[in-house]
Symmetry: C2
Subunit: 471 residues, 2 copies
């Protein structure tokens, strides 16, 4: 049985880390990990472990973990499969607190690997050491500048998003993608791999108390120790929103998951209901997960689901309207005064509804027409949240940050998201300007869907909080 809480401080904020398999040969995993830790500025003690070297990258190297006199907080294990067991034994002798196994070839491969995985887990647990992995790509805690990764990263942006994932995709390619294309930062990113010992639960509990975490992302291919996970989620989700992405949904996907991280995928519909009960917000795709994490990191939760939409494109307004009701919102019934003021100021003789389609104002003082439409809509007492859909076209170009800033100031407690589609250069200009002032922005041909879906997730979390606090 998993104890209800594990103190993860020595794992997450270690004062010393041993890297077993450390190497001075560029390209080798043991080099990439060690070099990365040093380059990203980790300030604790680092012990490279390699029986063939006395010094690696300028640091004194040790023969093995038990050659280190003091107990090590965290042992990173990056040796070939056959060597892992001995490293665990050495680490137990050192009274090391945590092990992070990046080596693969365990339960994801079949019975042989599964047996070995059980054996090393038992040795560690009996010796008082807890394990993360195996088959983990690494872990990052930017709060203490700790970046342990078998994939090299030149930069890593700190921020309020903490992710625990069952696969390296998050600490690897997805992190790279987020770092390159988003303004938000992943403060923590932990790949728990095959979960031979530590599961998601203690990490969620750690994030709940972490002052730097605004929102938690959870990726799973299969569920292990489901009941305790859901119990923990119920508590954690009252403090921090948790966005979950569970893949391995279909039967074939589940088979693929078994050979990827040794997971049993379980019944997806059951999972869906259980997630909802535990207050988890379920994303369907990786992109949706990033989109939602961003909106939670940036924006307040709306009072309820009455959404206002301002759009320069009637077509995008239709798409957002279509989607709103499927994601827990309804179009706000705006006041006549709101309609009349927008109409009078920017498009006389043109009817104003919600969505407020301001297409006919195109080319005529775009800054003024956007500013008036956004401000009037968000000030309407029946509007809880605002979706703005922009056409990134030359005749609409203006200082969008200024336009949105005025809407934010008019109603700081109401969340706003923006979508933008059109010329790439203008899309990017507005994306940077708006994300720079904390407006979650979605660009490209699916901007309306993504903006609406993100606002829907925020709205769902608001209703979860309300129902939980009442019960």
């Amino acid at each position: 049985m998993e104890p209800s809480t594990v103190d993860l401080r020595a794992l997450m904020e270690p004062s010393s880390v041993a890297v077993v398999g450390a190497s001075s040969t560029p390209g080798k995993t043991g080099y990439i990990i060690l070099k990365g830790m040093m380059d990203h500025g980790y300030k604790g003690r680092i012990y490279p472990i390699n029986p063939k070297e006395s010094e690696i990258l300028g640091l004194r190297a040790f023969q093995n973990v038990n050659a280190i006199s003091d107990p090590v907080d965290l042992v990173v294990i990056a040796v070939p499969f056959r060597g892992v067991k001995d490293v665990i034994k050495d680490s137990v002798e050192n009274r090391a607190k945590f092990g992070l196994i990046v080596t693969a070839g365990f339960s994801e491969i079949g019975d042989l690997g599964a047996n070995e995985e059980r054996e090393i887990t038992e040795i560690a647990r009996n010796g008082g050491m807890r394990l993360l992995g195996p088959n983990s790509i690494g872990m990052v805690n930017k709060s203490v500048d700790l970046v342990i990764s078998i994939v090299p990263f030149k930069t890593w942006k700190n921020g309020g998003i903490s992710v625990v994932a069952q696969t390296g995709i998050f600490a690897g390619a997805l992190a790279a993608n987020v770092i390159d294309t988003q303004n938000v930062g992943l403060g923590k990113s932990i790949d728990i791999g095959n979960r031979c010992d530590l599961t998601e639960q203690p990490l969620l509990e750690y994030f709940a108390e972490d002052e730097h975490t605004n929102v938690v992302g959870l990726h799973m291919e299969g569920i292990r120790e489901g009941r305790s996970l859901l119990e923990a989620s119920k508590k954690v989700s009252l403090k921090k929103p948790i966005v979950v992405l569970k893949t391995g949904r279909s039967e074939v996907g589940a088979k693929a998951a078994a050979s990827h991280t040794g997971s049993l995928a379980g019944d997806d519909i059951v999972a869906d209901a259980a997630f909802r009960q535990a207050g988890l917000i379920r994303a369907n795709t990786l992109q949706e997960m990033i989109d939602w994490l961003k909106v939670f990191d940036y924006q307040p939760t709306p009072k309820s689901g009455r959404v206002g939409i301002v759009t320069l494109s009637g077509a995008l307004g239709v798409i957002a309207s279509d989607m709103a009701s499927n994601v827990g919102m309804k179009l706000a019934e705006i006041e006549d005064s709101t309609k009349n003021e927008i109409q009078k100021e920017i498009m006389p003789a043109w009817p104003v509804r919600n969505p407020a389609d301001i297409w006919v104002s195109l080319g005529l003082e775009p800054e003024r027409s956007h500013r008036i439409a956004l401000k009037k809509m968000i000030e309407d007492p029946n509007v809880d949240s605002l979706i703005v859909l922009l056409l990134a076209l030359q005749p609409a170009r203006c200082d969008m940050a200024k336009v949105f800033k005025e809407a934010v100031d008019a109603a700081p407690s109401k969340p706003i998201v923006a979508g933008m589609m059109g010329a790439k250069e203008i899309e990017q200009e507005w994306f940077d300007a708006l994300e720079g002032i904390g407006i979650p922005s979605y660009k490209g041909s699916d901007c309306a869907e993504r903006a609406t879906s993100a606002m829907g997730a925020l709205t769902t979390y608001g209703s979860i909080l309300q129902s939980k606090r009442q019960s």
Copy 2:
């Protein structure tokens, strides 16, 4: 009643175009349209019409349409609402063949506009002139370098995709987005606006016979003359695949559509069934539509739905597997010889399945391992199509065009698509390289979903063709 076919040559390939409301004042709609036609190199005769000018942009201007001695093929009408009726009358007097009305304020606004719309339509039809619009953003036929648009475009890329849309979003912002971010080109893009006279049907029929059109995109907010549209689609879809995006799905979305293009949205489930029967392939989002148009433009149709997947990321493999069965494919049961050869050559001791997860080969000769995995998988007799999911990370960097070229050469009749996620720079490098050799590519965090969905659309069209040809 709509006649079953209309000869659209004078509309699509006009030898003369009058622009009513033409202006020499930059920024004005009549300037943007005229300047755009000249800049994009239209070679037919252009008649600027403006009672106050004798010359506009170096061209002789006319007082009104009936001052032109020969009948004009196409009259573009860009005057204020109140002036439209007189222009129609003048055009009928000139015996003009087609009118394209960009002016808005008709049936999308309410009863008053709807009455006016009916009236001008009657005048035109009685005078033997057919109308496109009103409330149209324009039309493009790049085969004759004709770009008529109220939104200025610096460039326009020719290509095998022809689009007919009920809203300016396609000829405007979406076209800008496609031009900036995709390698494919929109050869034709027609905004039919409120459809007062000409509907989608004759345009579909024109595209069916057009040698430059490989695939047709159809956007609708509402359906008009549904029966004849579906009958036409049934015939056209045997010649060219038709991807349809119908928005205005929900009740609220339908309301928004009514005020956008004056459409009645109709029952969405009925529409869905009717589309399927007519051989239309229905996309759910704008992005999906672009993704699918691209795959049809580039790739052959697979024999059946047995898909092979090669991935450097187990997680992306799981996502693609999950999705495959929902979009009409099944994972191919690959031969033992395929498995053994991939295993032997690139990852000894690691089991190979479909999806073939080649993660453990990361960093070890990426070009070689990708090349062998792709080639062996696509050569397998049980594989009809191939999805490749790449991790855009430094250790995997290699000449991807070369890798894919070899797979294409090994089985030219089997379609391939690629997804790529990771560092932005490498994503873009591979995207450009692969699209350059005709491999539809999808980059970013939803690459696995998008690649799988595109291959699903291609597979669906294959099965439509088979069942139709049998019946």
